[in-house]
């Protein structure tokens, strides 16, 4: 990766985050959606489900996945407005740099959604964990966000001009991120045996690597008419 390529990755990510810091469309939509999922879980299953910790982990990852899908849809929609993405495609570097830039910015946003969802499950569903586990949980959220963004950016760009983008994206995205949901729910389980944790971390890392590689290799063909 040369300097020019890295510069484009940085500029695309920086631009996305600057636009988001001004419009706040992505985070507002995703935060409200995630919060609603967790609050509804709290009201509906709060008393009925015996194991609150299982409920909390399930609610956390549902909130991350569906909140993330809503956020992803908004984040990529800005590229369709005024066909701004065409301006990026005219940049004289390999177009995979644009993909990586958008994955970086989406990862930051999904991580923020995941962190806030974690705060919500702690407050509304009494999810408790030791402070020493916080770094592990945050690492899981970051790794999950990378994989989620790698798939989500590719699919969102693919459906940029589809009128059904907002409804179609979760339908296509959720089956593809099942490994993230499984690994996420397992790795946020308190007292998970180290061997199991290691195995799930390897699955999560392998998934991230595979989807990033697939997106990096195919982005050029996805964006061309």
């Amino acid at each position: 990766m040369n300097r020019r390529y890295a510069r484009v990755v940085y500029e695309v990510a920086r631009k996305d985050l600057l636009v988001e810091s001004r419009s706040k469309q992505t985070l507002n939509a995703a935060f409200v959606f995630s919060a609603l999922i967790i609050v509804v879980f709290s009201f509906v299953f709060g008393e009925a489900v015996g194991d609150r910790e299982v409920l909390a982990r399930g609610a956390l990852w549902l909130a991350v996945v569906f909140g993330g899908a809503v956020g992803m849809s908004h984040a990529v929609a800005l590229e369709g407005k005024n066909e701004a993405i065409d301006g990026l495609l005219l940049v004289p570097v390999d177009r995979s740099a644009i993909y990586l830039g958008k994955v970086v910015s989406a990862t930051v946003l999904i991580t923020a959604i995941g962190t806030l969802s974690l705060a919500f499950v702690v407050v509304f569903l009494d999810y408790t964990f030791g402070l020493e586990a916080l770094s592990t949980i945050m690492l899981v959220i970051v790794l999950a966000s990378i994989g989620f963004s790698a798939v989500g950016v590719l699919l969102s760009i693919l459906m940029l001009h589809s009128q059904l983008q907002e409804s179609l994206l979760p339908v296509l995205l959720v089956p593809l991120v099942v490994p993230i949901i499984l690994a996420g729910t397992e790795l946020t389980q308190p007292g998970l045996a180290p061997e199991m944790a290691s195995a799930w971390f390897r699955i999560l890392l392998a998934y991230d690597g595979l989807v990033l590689l697939a997106g990096w290799m195919t982005f050029e063909y996805v964006v061309e008419d």
Binding site: V12, L18, K81, N82
Partner: protein, 247 residues
Amino acid sequence: MAVVSVSAVSKHFGAHVGVDDVSFDLESGETAVLFGANGAGKTTLIRMLASLSRPTDGEIAVGEEPLVGGNASVRSRIGVVTHDTMLYEELTARENLRLHARLHGVDTDVCDELLETVGLADRGAERVSGFSHGMSKRVSLARALVHDPDFLLFDEPYTGLDQASLKRIADVLEDLDDRTVLASTHDLARGFRLADRLLFLYDGRLVGDATADAFEDVDEVVDRYDELCRGSGVADDDRRSRAGVPR
């Protein structure tokens, strides 16, 4: 020497043929205007020349470098203005230009000069979301020039503009005589004034290629287009209407 070389280029959208076996070269400093009815394939051809769309068949080269499968750096020679401004509305005009300057690896100091050129030096700190279509189009023109390309593509640069923006953009385009330009426009008079050469497109095919000097005025151009399309089965009035000529 040909700056742009288009060889037997076609673009198919399923069963529909958008551009059919088009070939031409553009010399350095030449300004060619694509003349054709709606649906003739002007936008499709321009998108392929901008590397935004991949030809189904044929080859396009800028300089010696093929546009498809060649080095990505060839895109640094191309500047594009289309119907859409390619701007981010949440960013200011200056931020949009600086973003593109940094993406192209050029000095951002040029952005203020370009804002001055398009008459928006005092509006550079305002977000594009508050701009009229004409102002956005002027920023878009500055965006296309930010990396000083030697091959410029303009797809309907005059459409939907107020008089002030129209004059400013027309002035800038007329000052670009050292660059190779390919433009399409429905403003026949302005297009004719700008052109060194006219390329006539009909139903995706290049049906004529002539120097602008061969015509006295724009009416002659329209008549020539009519002649070239005759026999296509489309009624005269309909052809003239599709070409943007009042009945």
